[in-house]
C-alpha cells in the first residue's frame, strides 16, 4: 500500500515543493472514493477541499432548467479537481460528479487556508500551482469555444 506521503511527493502537481511543506500537506490529506453517479461537489456549497484524482473519471457539470445537467468538461487520473477552496468566497461554482468509480486524495482546504495564512511561502507555492491549473483549464475552455473541429 502506498503511503499518502509517497503519493504526494510523487504527484506532478507537488513537484518542486519544499519538504517541510509536503509534510504539512500530508497532515491535511486523506484517501477517499466516490461511486459512479455520486456528487463530489455541489454548486453553491462551501468549498473546503480539493482532490487529486488517482483513478476514475469526473464530470464538471452545471444544471439548466428544462435542459438538465450540462457537462462542461471531464477530469481523469492525475488531474486536480477544485480551486474554489483557495479563492474567496470559497463556494463551488459547478457540480462535480463521478462518472465511474473514482479514487482520490482529498486535501483539506480549510486546514491549508489556515496554514497558508501563517506561512506565506506555502500559500505562494500552492497559488503558483493552482494558477497553472486555472490557466490550463481556461485555455482548454477557449478552444472549446472556438469550435476547432469546424471547416475541415
Amino acid at each position: 500500500m502506498e503511503t499518502l506521503e509517497r503519493i504526494l511527493i510523487e504527484h506532478p502537481f507537488f513537484e518542486g515543493m519544499k519538504r517541510e511543506h509536503l509534510e504539512l500537506l500530508v497532515g491535511c490529506a486523506s484517501n477517499i472514493r466516490f461511486d459512479a453517479g455520486q456528487f463530489i461537489l455541489r454548486e453553491g456549497e462551501e468549498a473546503n477541499h480539493f482532490y487529486l484524482i488517482r483513478h476514475g473519471q469526473v464530470a464538471l457539470e452545471t444544471f439548466a432548467p428544462e435542459r438538465g445537467p450540462i457537462t462542461i468538461g471531464t477530469l481523469g487520473e492525475g488531474d486536480v479537481l477544485g480551486w474554489s477552496w483557495i479563492v474567496a468566497p470559497n463556494r463551488w461554482t459547478l457540480d462535480a460528479r463521478a462518472i465511474q468509480l473514482t479514487r482520490a486524495i482529498a486535501m483539506d482546504g480549510k486546514c491549508l487556508r489556515e496554514k497558508s495564512e501563517s506561512d506565506h511561502d506555502l500559500g505562494y507555492a500552492l497559488l503558483k500551482r493552482f494558477t497553472q491549473v486555472m490557466v490550463n483549464r481556461l485555455f482548454a475552455t477557449r478552444l472549446q469555444l472556438l469550435n476547432v473541429y469546424e471547416s475541415h
Partner: protein, 289 residues
C-alpha cells in the same frame, strides 16, 4: 521544396494522364452523420488496379457540376472498393450526396504524399483526429493494425463537437474493444447520457499512454486544431520531426500546375497533403498564407 512545373509527380503512373478522370460507379452511399457521408465506388471495368498510400486524396468529379479533392478513407489492403468520406459543404459535395447506386462519378488520382506508416515501424504511434479529420487517418489505422506487431503502443485520440458528430461509430466501438489499440474520444458539448470525455482533443494528450521520446504522431483536422495539437504534443515531449499534419487548401489540378494550393514554397497537392510539422511550423503562424 521543389516546384518543378515540368516534372510529372512520381505518384502518377506514366501510362495514366493525371488530368483525365476515370469513370467509377457508385456501389453504396452511407450517411455517417447529419452532414457527412461515405461513398463506395468501383471502376467501370469492375476490376480495380487502384492502389494508394494512406493520406492520399483523389479528385472526384460530379459530372456537369464540378470537381473536388477528397481524401481516401478506405482500407489500402482492400483496393477493389474506393472509399471516400466527406462533408456536404458546397455544390459539388451536395450533388454527390444525391448520387444513387450505379450512378457515375469521375476519379483522378491518387495524389500527394501520405502518412509515414512504414517509417513509423518500431515506434509508438499516436493518431490525433478532429471532426472529419478521422477520415484521412482511417487508412493509416487500417495499415497500422494490419502490421500491428511492428509497432509499439497505438493510440487514437478523437475529438468532435458533439456525440452526434462522431464518425465511423461502429468501427470506433470495435477498435475500442481491442487490447492492442488505445482509443479515447472526447466531445466539446455533451448532455444527457454521454458518459465519455468532454473537452477539446488536446486535453487527452497529457495522459495518453505513449512514450513521447519514441513516438510518431499523425494529426488531421482543421488547421487551428492541428496547430494546438502539435504544440501540446511538443509540450509532452514528442520531437517536432516526428509530428505529421495533413494540410488542406483549395486544390484544382492536383499535380502542382495551377498553383491554387500553394503553401509557402510547397504545393499541398503534390508536396503534401501530409507534411512534417517542423517543415511547415513557421508557415502555420502566417495569416496571409
Amino acid at each position: 521544396m521543389s516546384t518543378n512545373l515540368t516534372e510529372v509527380p512520381s505518384i502518377v503512373p506514366p501510362s495514366l494522364d493525371p488530368m483525365l478522370p476515370r469513370p467509377y460507379r457508385v456501389q453504396q452511399l452511407r450517411q455517417e452523420t447529419s452532414d457527412t457521408f461515405t461513398l463506395e465506388l468501383e471502376p467501370e471495368s469492375g476490376k480495380s488496379d487502384f492502389s494508394f498510400t494512406p493520406g492520399q486524396f483523389n479528385m472526384l468529379y460530379a459530372f456537369g457540376v464540378g470537381e473536388v479533392p477528397i481524401s481516401i478513407s478506405g482500407d489500402p489492403g482492400k483496393p477493389a472498393t474506393l472509399v471516400h468520406t466527406t462533408r456536404e459543404v458546397g455544390m459539388v459535395t451536395r450533388a454527390m450526396r444525391e448520387l444513387k447506386p450505379s450512378d457515375w462519378l469521375g476519379v483522378r488520382g491518387p495524389f500527394g504524399a501520405g502518412w509515414p506508416v512504414t517509417d513509423a515501424r518500431g515506434a509508438d504511434v499516436v493518431i490525433v483526429a478532429g471532426g472529419i479529420g478521422l477520415a484521412p487517418l482511417r487508412p493509416a489505422l487500417y495499415q497500422l493494425l494490419a502490421a500491428r506487431k511492428y509497432y509499439g503502443k497505438l493510440v487514437l485520440l478523437y475529438g468532435t463537437r458533439t456525440p452526434a458528430d462522431i464518425l465511423f461509430r461502429r468501427e470506433l466501438h470495435q477498435w475500442h474493444a481491442r487490447f492492442d489499440l488505445e482509443v479515447h474520444v472526447t466531445v466539446d458539448r455533451a448532455m444527457g447520457n454521454w458518459r465519455g470525455n468532454v473537452g477539446v482533443v488536446t486535453t487527452l494528450i497529457a495522459r495518453a499512454p505513449f512514450d513521447p521520446h519514441s513516438t510518431v504522431a499523425m494529426v488531421c483536422g482543421p488547421e487551428v486544431m492541428m496547430r494546438f495539437t502539435a504544440q501540446e504534443l511538443e509540450r509532452r515531449g514528442v520531437a517536432v520531426d516526428n509530428i505529421y499534419l495533413s494540410m488542406e487548401r483549395n486544390m484544382k489540378c492536383a499535380v502542382g500546375f495551377c498553383g491554387h494550393c500553394q503553401f509557402g514554397p510547397s504545393f499541398i497537392c503534390k508536396d503534401g497533403p501530409v507534411f512534417r510539422y517542423d517543415r511547415i511550423q513557421p508557415l502555420l503562424a502566417v495569416r496571409e498564407i
